[in-house]
Amino acid sequence: MTEVLLEARNVNKNFGALSATRDVTFQLEQGARHALIGPNGAGKTTFINLLTGVLIPTAGQVLFKGSDITNFEQAERVKLGIARTFQINQLFRGLSVLENVYMAIAERAGAAPGMFGPAGSRRDVIDESMELLTQLKLADIAHKTIPELPYGRQRLVELAITLGLKPQVLLLDEPAAGVPSAESHIILDAIDALPKRIGVLIIDHDMDLVFRFAKKITVLVRGAVFAEGTPKEIGANPDVRAVYLGQATHGA
C-alpha cells in the first residue's frame, strides 16, 4: 500500500483580485513520480510555494502524512522532509561546492547551531557531504566555487543541496531549465537515480523530460487543475492538446 505523503485540499491563493491558485486538490504518494505541467502563468511555481510554506493559502489545507501543516513555516516543513529545488539556481556562490552541501547537511543533522567547535571538526557532516557529491559525480570539483562551474554542474549542485536534506518529498522546479542539451543528461541521470521511496513532483515545460520521467501528470491551467492522468491519457486528451499545447505555441 502506498502512503499519501503530501496533500493539498481545495487550496486557493489570491493576490488581490488575481486568483493564482483555484481550488486545487492534489495528492503525492510515497514513491510517486508525478509531473505538474501547464502554460506560462498557470500558477505552477505559486503552487510549489504553497506546498513548501513560502506562501500561505488564502483558503484550503495542506497536509503531510494526514496532519495539517497549512500554517507551518518553511523551516518546519523542511524538518518534516519536504524539500525543493529552485527554477533559478539558489546557491552560495562565494563558497565551494562542498560548503554548499555542508550547509544543508549541517542543518539537517542539527550541527548548524554549534558555536564553539570549528565547522571542520564535524567530520560526520563533511564525510556525508563528500559521499553525496561522489554519488552525483561532483566529488572531483568539490573544492571549486560555483561561478567556476558550467551551468549544468551548477544545476546539479542545486539538486545536491536538496538531497542533503534527505527529503521524503522532493519538489523539482524545472530541474533542467537553462542547461545546454549536451549537458542535460547529467541532470536526467541524477533524477533517474533518486531513491525509489521518495515522492517526487517535477514541474517542467520540457515534454520529453516529463514523459520520460512521470508516471502521473497533473495539468494546471489558470491556477486550476485542468486534467490529471497517466502520460498516455494526458497525451491523448484533446482538450489538453488544445489548451496547453495550443497556448504554448502562441507563447501566452
Partner: protein
C-alpha cells in the same frame, strides 16, 4: 551511511577541516600592539583609542561582514555600553572595571535583542534606516535624560578604581588602559574568531550569500540573525564600556551617527567579512586621520574621503582585498 569512506585527504575537505587553524601571520598584530607599548610610551592614549576602535569594528564585522546585516546604527550599542559604565559609576552603584564590562555587554545585548526582534524582519535599505532610527532614539533619550545621563555635557570625571585593585588608571600615562584594552580585545577576538569558523558562523555566511536558500534548507534564518545581532551588540557594548573606563567620562559622541559611520568606513577600508580587516582599517584610518590633521588642520578629511572613494571604486575587498589580489598575481607569475 553504512560504509562511510574517509574523505579527509580530498582538497575540498582538507580546506574545510583546516580552515580554522592558526596561520603563521596571525600573532603579528598582537606582537605589534605589544611592541607599540614599549616603543611609543607617549602615544599610548592614541593606541588605546585605536584598540577600542578595532574591537568596535570587529563587533560590526560579525553582523555586517559575516551575516550581511546592513546597519548604520551600531554606535547605539557602543553608546549603551559607555552610558552603562558611566551611569553606574556616576551614581556610585558599580565601578569595578571587569564586571562593569560584563554589565555593559548585557545591557547592549538586551537592546540588540529587543531591537533585532523588530528590525530583522526587514532587509536592505529599510533595515539601514531602522538601525539609524534606533540609534537616533537612543541618542535623543541620552540628550533629554539630563538628570541621569548629563544630557549634552555627558558625565565627566568618572570614578574608575584600579584594575584588580592593583593597577591605577592614570589619564596622563594610560599604560594600564592600553594593556587592559589589549587583553579584553584578545578575549573578544578569540570569541569572534571561534564563532565565525563554527557551523553557526558558516550558516551566517550562508544567510549572507543566499537567504532564500537558507530558508529552503530549513534554517531558522530570523533567529540566527537575531542571535548574531545580539552577540554583535554585546561586543559593541564592551567596546563602549571600555571606552568610558579608559577615558573616565561619557558623552553623546559615543552614540551618534559620526561614530557609527566612522566604524563602517573603517571596516570597508580594511575589508569586511575577514576578521583582520578591522585591525587594518582601524590602524590605517586613525593613523591617517592623526597625521593628516596635523599637516592640514582645516581640510584633513578630504584626504580620507579621496581614499575611501578610491577603495569603493577599485578595491571592494578593502586594503586586505588589495593584498589578496597582489598575492594571487604574484603566485600566478611564479613558474610552477
Amino acid at each position: 551511511m553504512s560504509a562511510t569512506s574517509d574523505f579527509s585527504s580530498h582538497p575540498a575537505a582538507r580546506a574545510l577541516i583546516n580552515r580554522h587553524r592558526l596561520r603563521w601571520w596571525e600573532p603579528l598584530p598582537w606582537l605589534l600592539a605589544l611592541a607599540f607599548y614599549f616603543i611609543f610610551p607617549r602615544y599610548l592614549g592614541f593606541g588605546t583609542e585605536v584598540l577600542i576602535t578595532v574591537l568596535f569594528a570587529i563587533s560590526l564585522d560579525l553582523a555586517l561582514g559575516y551575516a550581511g546585516i546592513v546597519t548604520l546604527g551600531h554606535a547605539a550599542f557602543f553608546g549603551a555600553g559607555a552610558y552603562t559604565v558611566g551611569m553606574l559609576a556616576d551614581n556610585g552603584i558599580w565601578t569595578e572595571p571587569v564586571t562593569g564590562l560584563l554589565i555593559s555587554a548585557a545591557v547592549a545585548a538586551a537592546i540588540g535583542f529587543l531591537s533585532g526582534l523588530v528590525l530583522l524582519r526587514t532587509t536592505g535599505l529599510t533595515l539601514l534606516m531602522l538601525t539609524l532610527c534606533t540609534m537616533g532614539l537612543l541618542e535623543e533619550a541620552a540628550n533629554l535624560g539630563h538628570d541621569w545621563t548629563g544630557g549634552f555635557d555627558g558625565l565627566p570625571s568618572l570614578n574608575v578604581p584600579p584594575l584588580f585593585g592593583l593597577f591605577e588608571f592614570n589619564p596622563l600615562f594610560p599604560k594600564t588602559q592600553y594593556l587592559y584594552v589589549l587583553g579584553v580585545l584578545l578575549v573578544c577576538f578569540v570569541f569572534v574568531r571561534t564563532l565565525v569558523y563554527s557551523p553557526f558562523g558558516q550558516s551566517l555566511t550562508g544567510i549572507r550569500e543566499n537567504t532564500l536558500r537558507m530558508h529552503a534548507v530549513g534554517a531558522p534564518v530570523r533567529w540566527r540573525l537575531i542571535l548574531c545581532y545580539t552577540l554583535s551588540a554585546a561586543l559593541a557594548g564592551v567596546a563602549g564600556g571600555i571606552w568610558a573606563q579608559a577615558n573616565a567620562y561619557v558623552n553623546l559622541t559615543t552614540l551618534g551617527l559620526d561614530r557609527a559611520a566612522t566604524v563602517l568606513i573603517i571596516l570597508v577600508l580594511g575589508g569586511y567579512g575577514r576578521l583582520y580587516g578591522s585591525w587594518v582599517g582601524a590602524v590605517a584610518y586613525m593613523a591617517l586621520a592623526h597625521f593628516l590633521s596635523q599637516i592640514y588642520p582645516t581640510a584633513w578629511q578630504l584626504g580620507l574621503g579621496l581614499l575611501l572613494v578610491a577603495i569603493a571604486l577599485f578595491a571592494r575587498g578593502g586594503i586586505l582585498g588589495i593584498g589578496d589580489a597582489l598575492l594571487a598575481r604574484f603566485a600566478r607569475k611564479k613558474p610552477s
